[in-house]
């Protein structure tokens, strides 16, 4: 594969995947996930997120294109490869008539580097009894168990699909803290690929953002770059009225009587100043948080 850069732990190139009769779930999907950070994978429902994640996790095959995880095709992972990749599904996939303790023992047998102390610690912290059956736990607790099982593997790559979906606020913070702890302990040796609708969580921990829409990755860059470049600019106090004002390449333009609100990429503040000057207007630049940015990009 051409872009086989060892610095990227996940590389997908021009992946196509169809579902049913000609429904294109992913089309020309390309992503490169650098090692050793947190990659936040965002997208609306139906944009192809879970399909992409399942292909990366080796549960689905692309109809066209290549995927390389840890340098290999994930669908043909050997058990040794699987030991390096932790996966948490969007759905509850743990067998329901296992007791928590028994399931932990079962999984531990497949991973030579299983972190027993961490499991005991987290089960205590999240207040999960080893004697209860998985099927009897609440949804949120089931997710916590799945999360613990993924963490305990000490994976090089942790793939999380909507991991905090049914957790309450406190549980979510605890969950984020555990991811951060994993990153600290691994000291650059672990990459987290996380997909979530809770953008405030992503904002706390991610350093890279990818946004998928219509089966394609339309944004892939460091979170800081995204936050620093997508801005809302309010042009006001026009000399000659706000009519006919257009900011080139804007995501959204809302015109008022004497002011215009523009959402756009601002790579160079000078561009904005020049544009304002050209139209004889003043301007203010407003910061946008990740949720706003995502909204603006997804609804342009």
């Amino acid at each position: 594969m051409q872009n086989n850069n060892p610095e990227n732990i996940i590389e997908a190139l021009n992946v196509n995947r169809y579902f049913g009769a000609g429904n294109l779930a992913l089309g020309n999907f390309t992503v490169s996930v650098p090692r050793g950070g947190v990659y936040g994978f965002l997208g609306r429902n139906g944009a192809g997120k879970t399909t992409a994640i399942k292909i990366i996790a080796g549960l689905l095959r692309p109809d066209f294109g290549t995927v390389r995880v840890l340098g290999k095709d994930p669908f043909t992972f050997t058990p040794a490869d699987r030991q390096r990749v932790g996966y948490m599904s969007e759905k509850q996939i743990l067998p329901v008539n296992y007791r928590v303790g028994a399931l932990v023992k079962f999984c531990a047998a497949f991973y030579p580097r299983w972190h027993h102390e961490l499991v005991a610690q987290l089960l205590g912290k999240f207040n999960i009894s080893c004697q209860r059956k998985i099927g009897q736990l609440s949804q949120g607790t089931q997710r916590q168990v799945a999360f613990i099982l993924a963490l305990a593997q000490r994976p090089e790559l942790l793939i999380l699909d909507e991991p905090a979906a049914t957790l309450d606020v406190v549980a979510r913070r605890e969950f984020l803290d555990e991811i951060l702890r994993l990153l600290r302990d691994a000291d650059g040796g672990t990459t987290v690929f996380i997909s979530s609708h809770i953008l405030s969580d992503i904002e706390r921990i991610a350093d890279h953002i990818g946004i998928i829409a219509g089966g394609q990755l339309i944004v892939s860059e460091p979170l800081d770059d995204l936050a620093e470049s997508v801005k809302k600019i309010r042009f006001h106090s026009f000399n000659n009225g706000a009519a006919n004002f257009a900011y080139p390449g804007a995501y959204r333009t809302i015109s008022g009587r004497d002011e215009v609100l523009v959402t756009a990429r601002v790579r160079d503040p000078l561009t904005v100043a020049q544009c304002a000057q050209r139209h004889g207007a003043s301007y203010e630049i407003q910061d946008l948080n990740l949720e706003d940015i995502f909204y603006e990009i997804s609804t342009r």
Partner: protein
């Protein structure tokens, strides 16, 4: 070290860190030669990605405010240049812009504002 970070403000977290650390160095809360917490410790304390802390430290180092000592950690630069005039002005510019904006709004003249500023300088320096 208690830094106030708001991941949802729209300003990148590393920038918030750099800004606050610069302020503390400038106002002497972090003394020359003082050791800063390790990337690992600070990221644990602040509940942020270690890469963010590392990036903030890198920016501070680039600006000459901190230095990495191999095997020891990160320290406030002892022999750093005091902030250049340009840097000083850049740091205080947002606060000044806001004051000026409000003064204009209230109808104060430049002279009146200057007088007010001189009063406060005198008060705080004593």
């Amino acid at each position: 070290m208690f830094l106030h970070l708001n991941p949802q403000s729209g300003e990148p977290v590393y920038r918030q860190m750099v800004r606050q650390l610069k302020q503390r160095i400038a106002t002497g809360q972090l003394a020359d030669g003082q050791q800063l917490p390790s990337v690992r410790d600070l990221s644990a304390e602040l509940h942020v990605n270690p890469l963010t802390v590392a990036k903030a430290y890198q920016f501070l180092e680039r600006d000459g405010l901190v230095e990495f000592r191999r095997g020891q950690g990160t320290f406030v630069a002892a022999d750093r240049d005091r902030f250049s005039k340009a840097q000083q002005q850049k740091l205080i510019a947002p606060a000044v812009a806001q004051v000026v904006s409000e003064a204009l709004h209230l109808g104060l003249s430049v002279g009146q504002l200057q007088q007010l500023i001189r009063q406060y300088y005198a008060k705080q320096q004593s």
